[in-house]
Subunit: 439 residues, 2 copies
């Protein structure tokens, strides 16, 4: 059985407006799955791992913010190791290793493969992960890396220089992201891209962790996590390790980090309500809004629309999006939560209208607001509300009014949709007092 | 004093999504006015007429659909002559002429100038209108036209061939829209564009009207209007008239009929929440949505977004928009009404959420629905509702529930905003029974 740690991070700025702080690119559902349903990179990778190894024990190392979305998309099929704060890959892998050992009971002799959650690859990539795990199990090296056969002299990746051109070779050196000329020289020497994939025995990793961080076990490391410095696994471990080998991988591998590469992986040019005239060329459009997009005479462009905003970009420019999105600095207008999702529909000076959708069996926290009144109109579904301790069954058409200070929650029996109108001059996400859940 | 009839028509498809069946292009507020407020073509033309002639008596000939918007933008400052149905320019001008005579008491000797509502011109154009009226008053001809000095051999306009090249000349012939080669020949002969502007004495026009339509007075013509055939003023009158002269106009004149010409008239490249990176060139963006638009590397493009949809078009293609918009065939998501406006916020299978904004002193009709319940949450303002004959004062935060069959209305004292949630499986605009207004 293979243990896999999938690293799930990402600020989500580079695929704006489909990604945001809460919804990173790996959660966007835009790939056509085997049953023709749209799947996200997360669910696609999960499905692919299960295809090559139905028994694989999968743990996702991630932040608090992403944990809800991962649960929504994969439920109980994976373990989630939540970092209290973001601290780069070395602390994250240490925490996940301790989690596997202390929480899941994985022995120090077992092999663990670490892999990013978002490669866009064919199943052969996961077959290569199995081979990687096999090499680690044989134990000729402490660390086994996957090296990706480069297709062009990229400046975006680190390079691994192998000693030989064999399918498996020991590593002679690591190189930081080079300029294009240097990258060309590396490739001439047989260098490989470092795709951030490596396998080791759990005991090896725990030893490295204890060398650099003072902790006893998983709960202890969790407690001191925030005090650790940010440091990458490559820098802290890989570049210092002498007994290290690399497995060449030459299958298709796309790093969907920006719109111009992301659109290459789309099965059709459009998703959602989109019309392209016959003068459009090499243009992809993703529309999550309810209103139509009409594109005429667009060439080499990407258009993406969500409740957060609209991007219209030439593909050659789309990799430079980050500073522009940072400048927008806006509140997310849509977010998936552990209990469902919310969408901001309308913002006025003294009011805000929000659509709330709760999953069956889920609830909001029991809470109140100091500076705003709220009105719920149940659109669909059934459940119950608790208002200042009083329980009431609700269904489509029912209206609940909650003056400021009033404690309230809603619990969904079926999928439940409601429109919330917030009324007040100081509407803010900070204005929320939580109380212990009521039954 | 000058009498002016402004013809306000247009299907509104060519400037989609900012224009729609209800909101034609002349109502879109996107020109910077003298006080830096955004103005529409309608309010701009109105302001310009008032500048050259503060006393001008202005009548707008238009359809039922547009009358509310005109009232919202200009209030009581203009007379509105509403056509019961659309019947092309000859019947429309006959109806307006009868309206001037019978409703406003304009004498048969007074001069009337007819002009489209949407030319994008400088004030000198309106000075030329005054000169046109003066020529008509002198009475050397029955009909005096404005001929626009052509700037290129356009295939979009009809041509007027004058006898001489003098500033004022008698007309020798009219020519239908030609092909480019023929247009070139016309221009070589000194031909002018026919911009649909003409002046006459009211009695002359009434005589032409009575010759072709059997009617007594304005109310009578209004009653038989729907039975008239569609025929243009050029065809019915101008091309048959012998005593006709033309005034040359060589000032700036833009026909903002499609996005590529419309954007030429914009004072700045962007309106609304828009970011352009410094690789954008010759690109204009109009954003009426509340979410940001980010454009990167766009060249010679126009981007326009409203609650009806999003257009992303190369300027060279934007004139071909009409069939694509017709294919979209959607319900308007935003509409200005005599009482205010509505915006569709959310559409679900069994519910619909709408924002309703009422102007002070205005009300909805008293009505009921057979197949849906409704809930109103007042967001802002004050007024009263009438529910099955019972009156109730309401203000921000109040909630009104209206089961199917219940008669209801809301009357705004101040500007009043409310969120309406419609609940039912058969939500349709047709499901509405109106009753006599209650006090």
């Amino acid at each position: 059985m293979m243990n896999i740690i999938l690293l799930s991070g990402g600020s989500g700025k580079r695929l704006w407006p489909l990604s945001n702080d809460v919804r990173s690119k790996q959660f966007i559902k835009m790939f056509r799955g085997s049953d023709n349903e749209l799947e996200s990179m997360l669910t696609r990778v999960f499905r692919q791992i299960r295809t090559v190894d139905p028994e694989a024990r999968i743990t996702i190392a991630t932040s608090r913010k992403q944990a809800s979305t991962i649960k929504n998309q994969l439920g109980e099929q994976v373990n989630i190791c939540v970092e209290p704060e973001r601290r780069d890959t070395f602390p994250a892998i240490c925490l996940a290793a301790a989690y596997l050992h202390d929480e899941l009971g994985v022995s120090e002799e077992e092999v663990v493969v670490v892999c990013p959650v978002d490669p866009y690859v064919q199943d052969s990539y996961f077959e290569a992960l199995k081979r990687l795990a096999e090499l680690a199990r044989q134990g000729e090296s402490n660390l086994t890396l996957m090296g990706i056969e480069p297709t062009y002299p990229s400046e975006k990746y680190g390079y691994i220089i192998p000693v030989t051109a064999d399918p498996v070779s020991t590593v002679s050196a690591f190189k930081e992201k080079p300029d294009e000329k240097t990258a060309r020289e590396y490739i001439a020497q047989g260098a490989l891209w470092n795709g951030g994939v490596f396998a080791f025995k759990l005991g090896y990793m725990l030893k490295r962790a204890h060398e650099m961080i003072r902790f006893k076990d998983y709960p202890d490391l969790f407690a001191v996590y925030g005090a650790q410095k940010k440091i990458s696994f490559d820098y802290a471990v890989a570049e210092r390790e002498k007994q290290i080998q690399v497995l060449r991988y030459n299958g298709e591998w796309l790093d969907l980090g920006s719109w111009n590469t992301f659109t290459e992986a789309m099965d059709s040019d459009t998703i959602g309500k989109v019309t392209l005239d016959n003068h459009c060329k090499n243009t992809q459009v993703v529309n999550e809004l309810n209103i139509p997009i009409l594109c005429m005479g667009c060439r080499d462009m990407v258009v993406a629309a969500s409740v957060d905003g609209i991007l219209v970009s030439g593909k050659d420019r789309s990799a430079h999006i980050k500073p522009y999105v940072e400048a927008l600095e806006q509140q997310a207008m849509y977010a998936e939560k552990s209990w469902g999702s919310f969408t901001v529909l309308d913002v006025q000076e003294d009011s805000m209208t929000i659509k709330v959708e709760l999953l069956p069996g889920h609830r909001l926290s029991y809470h109140s607001h100091s500076h705003r009144d709220e009105v719920w109109t149940v659109m669909a579904g059934q459940g119950c509300v608790v208002i200042d301790g009083m329980k009431r069954i609700v269904r489509s058409g029912d209206v609940i009014t909650m003056p400021a200070g009033c404690r309230h929650t809603v619990i969904a029996d079926t999928r439940l949709g409601l429109i919330e109108v917030q009324l007040g001059t100081e509407i803010s996400v900070e204005d929320k007092q939580k109380f212990e859940d009521v039954d």
